[in-house]
C-alpha cells in the first residue's frame, strides 16, 4: 500500500468533513425555520463524525490521534478545499454549497466502496449510506426553492454563480493521482468530477436555475496544498480555543 498517497487522500477528505461539519453546526439556533436548524445540525454531526473516523484511519497509519490533528494543526497543514471554509453567508449560499459539495462527496464515497484499502472501503460503505440523506435533503430544497418565488430563484442563482469556481476546487488534483488509481485505492478526481457534473446538471435542470458552460468557470485551487483563504485561521482558532488551554488535560 502506498502510504504517502493514502495519507494525502485521507487528510483532504477528513479535513473537508471537519470544516464543513463545523460550518454546518454554526446554523444551530439561526436556521430560517426550526426544521432546517435541526437538519443542518444532523448533517454537522454526521460530517464531524465522518472526519473523526477518517482521522482514526490516519492514526492507524501512524498519524497522531484525532483530537490532536483536528484541534492543534495550523491552517497551513489543513488540506480541505477552500469551498468548505467559506463563511455560511445567507441560507442560499449554505444550501448551494451543501448541494454542490454533498453531491460530490456522495459520488466520492460511492467510488471508495471499491477501494483496495479495505478499512477505507468498509468506512465508505457506512458514510455513503449516511450521505444519501444529505443529498436527498439538498435536492429536495434545491428543487423547491429553485422553482418557488422570484426572490428564492434569484438568490439561488446568484449563490450558484458565486459557488461554482470554489466547487471546482473540490477536485484539485493530488500529486498521487496515478499511484492512487494504479493501486486501486481511488479512481481519481477527474472521474469524480465528470460524474459530479452530470448529477449537478440533472438536478439543476429540474429547476428554474441555469448553469454556465463548465469551461467558462475558473476553479479556485490551493486548499489541497494548504493554501487557504483568510477564513480558515479564525475558524481553527475558535475550534481549538478550549482544547488549547491545556492540550494535555482531559476535557
Amino acid at each position: 500500500m502506498n502510504t504517502p498517497a493514502l495519507t494525502e487522500l485521507l487528510f483532504k477528505m477528513a479535513d473537508d468533513q471537519l470544516i464543513l461539519g463545523h460550518r454546518n453546526s454554526e446554523w444551530t439556533g439561526f436556521g430560517p425555520l426550526l426544521e432546517e436548524d435541526i437538519a443542518f445540525s444532523s448533517m454537522a454531526q454526521d460530517k464531524v463524525g465522518h472526519s473523526q473516523a477518517l482521522y482514526e484511519l490516519l492514526h492507524s497509519l501512524g498519524q497522531p490521534a484525532p483530537d490532536e490533528v483536528a484541534f492543534l494543526r495550523p491552517a497551513g497543514q489543513f488540506h480541505n478545499c477552500i469551498f468548505v471554509e467559506l463563511p455560511n453567508g445567507e441560507y442560499d449560499f449554505s444550501l448551494i454549497r451543501h448541494f454542490l459539495y454533498d453531491t460530490a462527496e456522495s459520488i466520492r464515497f460511492e467510488l471508495l466502496r471499491k477501494s483496495s484499502f479495505e478499512p477505507l472501503a468498509q468506512l465508505a460503505h457506512k458514510i455513503h449510506g449516511e450521505l444519501r440523506y444529505h443529498t436527498l435533503h439538498a435536492n429536495t430544497w434545491i428543487k423547491q426553492l429553485g422553482t418557488a418565488t422570484e426572490e428564492s430563484i434569484s438568490r439561488l442563482q446568484h449563490s450558484l454563480a458565486f459557488a461554482l469556481p470554489y466547487a471546482l476546487g473540490i477536485f484539485e488534483r493530488s500529486p498521487f493521482e496515478k499511484e492512487l488509481a494504479a493501486d486501486g485505492i481511488f479512481e481519481g478526481e477527474d472521474v469524480l468530477q465528470e460524474r459530479w457534473r452530470a448529477k449537478v446538471e440533472e438536478v439543476i435542470s429540474q429547476t428554474d436555475l441555469t448553469l454556465p458552460a463548465w469551461n467558462t468557470i475558473a476553479p479556485v485551487l490551493g486548499g489541497r496544498q494548504g493554501k487557504h483563504s483568510e477564513h480558515l485561521t479564525p475558524l481553527l482558532d475558535e475550534m481549538g480555543e478550549v482544547f488549547r488551554i491545556d492540550p494535555t488535560a482531559s476535557w
Binding site: T28, F30, G31, L34, T140, E151, V242
Partner: protein, 328 residues
C-alpha cells in the same frame, strides 16, 4: 432543558364568571379523575390561555436556551464533546418544535408565538439572559440547568393537558441523556487540572443566583395560582421544585469538592427543607422584564434569524411550488 420558572399572572376572581357552570364542573371532575384533556374537548378560556402561555414560554426557553450553549459547539474541546454538544443543542431545538406544535393545538400559530417572543410580549426562562463566558459555564448549563428543568418537567408530565404531557414524555427521555452528558463534562473538570477546577468553581459562582431564580419567585410573593394547581396546569409550587433541586444536587456539587456561594445554604434536618439566603427577587423582576445582561442580544439574534429566513418561509408557501416526492 429548559423549562422552568414559569411566570403566571394573578387571576381575576371573576375570570370564570362567563363559563357554563355545568361544563366547568364536568371539566374539573375529569381532571380530578386523572383524565387528560385533549384539543377538541371543552375547556374554560382561562385554562386555554394559561396553557398557551406556559407551553409557549417553555418552547421559547428551548430556542433561546440553545444560544448560550450553542456558542460553545464551535469551541468544544475534542471530538467527543463537540459531537455530544451538537446533538444536545439539536435536541433542544427539537423540543421547541414539539412544544410549539403542542401549543398550536390550543389555537395559536407558531408564527404568532415567535412574533410575540421577538416583540418581548412573551417570556422565556430568565436564566438564559445571562452570558456563558467559558466552557465551564456551558457545562454548568448542561448539568445543572438541565437538572432543574427535569425537576420541573417531571412534575408537569403529570399535568392535565394531553398534548403537552406527551411532548414532555419525549423531552424528559432526551433530557436524561443531557444530564448524563453535563455531569460527565463536570466530572472531567472536577478531576482535572487546577485550572479546570477553577473554571468550574467560577462558573458556579456566576450561575448560582440565576439558578436559584430559575424556579421562579418564592411562594410567599408569587401570584395566587390555586385554580391552576386544581386544573393541573401548575403541578408544584416554586419553592417545592427549588427545594427538590437543592436536595438532589447540592450534595453532588459538594461531593465534587466545589463550594456554593451562599453561606446560609444548609439542610434543616428537622423540617427536611433547605435554607438559603433569599434570592434577590428585584433582580429577577428586572431581568425578566428585559433589563438583564443578555436580553437584548438574545432577542436580537432571534429577530435577525427570523428576518434573514423570511424569504425561505415565503418560498415554501409559494403557489407555484411543486410537490417534491420524498425518497426519489
Amino acid at each position: 432543558m429548559y423549562g422552568g420558572g414559569n411566570t403566571f399572572e394573578g387571576i381575576a376572581s371573576d375570570s370564570l364568571a362567563t363559563e357554563d357552570p355545568e361544563k366547568l364542573a364536568a371539566f374539573e371532575a375529569r381532571i380530578a379523575r386523572g383524565e387528560k384533556i385533549e384539543p377538541a374537548d371543552w375547556m374554560p378560556q382561562l385554562y386555554r390561555k394559561q396553557l398557551i402561555r406556559m407551553i409557549e414560554q417553555h418552547a421559547h426557553s428551548e430556542i433561546i436556551g440553545a444560544l448560550p450553549e450553542g456558542t460553545w459547539i464551535t469551541r468544544a474541546p475534542g471530538f467527543k464533546r463537540k459531537l455530544a454538544l451538537m446533538a444536545k443543542v439539536q435536541d433542544e431545538v427539537g423540543h421547541a418544535q414539539l412544544l410549539y406544535s403542542a401549543a398550536e393545538t390550543l389555537g395559536k400559530t407558531r408564527e404568532q408565538m415567535i412574533q410575540d417572543l421577538i416583540s418581548g410580549k412573551s417570556k422565556y426562562s430568565n436564566i438564559f439572559n445571562y452570558p456563558a463566558f467559558t466552557w465551564a459555564d456551558a457545562c454548568f448549563i448542561s448539568w445543572l440547568v438541565d437538572a432543574g428543568a427535569i425537576v420541573n418537567q417531571l412534575a408537569n408530565v403529570k399535568g392535565s393537558y394531553g398534548p403537552y404531557c406527551r411532548a414532555l414524555d419525549r423531552i424528559c427521555a432526551e433530557e436524561s441523556f443531557h444530564l448524563k452528558y453535563g455531569h460527565h463534562c463536570v466530572i472531567y473538570l472536577a478531576a482535572g487540572t487546577p485550572k479546570q477546577r477553577e473554571m468550574f468553581q467560577e462558573a458556579i459562582n456566576r450561575w448560582w443566583a440565576p439558578m436559584m431564580h430559575f424556579f421562579g419567585p418564592a411562594d410567599k410573593i408569587s401570584a395566587h395560582t390555586q385554580v391552576l394547581m386544581n386544573w393541573k396546569v401548575k403541578m408544584a409550587t416554586n419553592d417545592d421544585t427549588r427545594n427538590q433541586f437543592l436536595d438532589m444536587y447540592v450534595p453532588k456539587i459538594w461531593e465534587l469538592g466545589f463550594t456554593i456561594p451562599d453561606p446560609a445554604l444548609r439542610k434543616n434536618t428537622e423540617t427536611g427543607r433547605w435554607e438559603y439566603t433569599e434570592p434577590d427577587w428585584e433582580e429577577f423582576k428586572r431581568v425578566i422584564n428585559g433589563d438583564g445582561p443578555c436580553n437584548k442580544e438574545r432577542l436580537e439574534v432571534r429577530r435577525v434569524a427570523e428576518t434573514r429566513g423570511r424569504w425561505v418561509r415565503e418560498a415554501l408557501r409559494s403557489a407555484t411550488m411543486k410537490y417534491v416526492e420524498p425518497l426519489v
